[in-house]
Symmetry: C2
Subunit: 140 residues, 2 copies
Amino acid sequence: MAQHGLKSTRQRSLIIDTFFSVGGHLSVEELWNKVREQDTKVSVATVYRTMKLLNDCGLAHARNFGDGQTRYEAAAGRHHHDHLICTRCGRIVEFENDRIEAMQEAVAKKHGFTVTSHKMELYGLCKDCQRIPGSPKTEA
Amino acid sequence: MAQHGLKSTRQRSLIIDTFFSVGGHLSVEELWNKVREQDTKVSVATVYRTMKLLNDCGLAHARNFGDGQTRYEAAAGRHHHDHLICTRCGRIVEFENDRIEAMQEAVAKKHGFTVTSHKMELYGLCKDCQRIPGSPKTEA
DNA sequence: ATACCTGCAAATGTTTTGCAATGAT
DNA sequence: ATCATTGCAAAACATTTGCAGGTAT
């Protein structure tokens, strides 16, 4: 970390290790809770600061799935991908599709735009939730 | 409006008229400013409440382009569409592409999802901004 | 030693809400 | 008259920041 003038601290190591070992698409609060299982003293502010750094370094990507919280996913050496989000159980599935990406480029070009980034999210019901009628987020 | 137990008030009429006549993708604050040109007394809370109603009725759609504010666009009788957003000047261009939609469906089906809604946003530089080096949001 | 980091609490920015007063039907 | 709606100010949320003390290099 020293190459960017960053220091390796107990808190940062714990936060980063936890983030990568838990995986998925964690909100800061979720990550904070996991971190506090190991060290009760770590403050949210530090988790926010650390995830921001990780994002700036390109090791994590900030995402926003419309639930009002920023979520982070590991990014090291990963391809760009998009997401399917189950609006009932919250499951998030990642996918890649080169043909869609190509068509996005084509659409942008048609409108004179140069695309630097994009996001695409498909919301709906996952396989399991389609057969279960009733209200969302009510796991058995 | 009576069919939903909603009442027609001076504030609502003004907010709704303003929203539809200004058009585009307005944040609540932008809309509030426009509204106050006609009536200084209208509160932000009322604008928030009215736009939420309009959204629930399906007459407006809430959008989130990553600038931290919810933006609303008119929705009455419009097709689904996606957006190109210029990260320099903030210009927003709408587009429709049936082939991309079809491929989204296909991807979802492959993963066992039923899609109920989706969002796709392409961020980059518009035609005009590509030729202007320098910092964003600095209009001549 | 010298930056950089941390925790805390206070501040931020956006959106929501409780409540008493006002207004529409 | 009744019940929805308003404005205001306070509350709620997620996130950021100032600062004084602590820590890695």
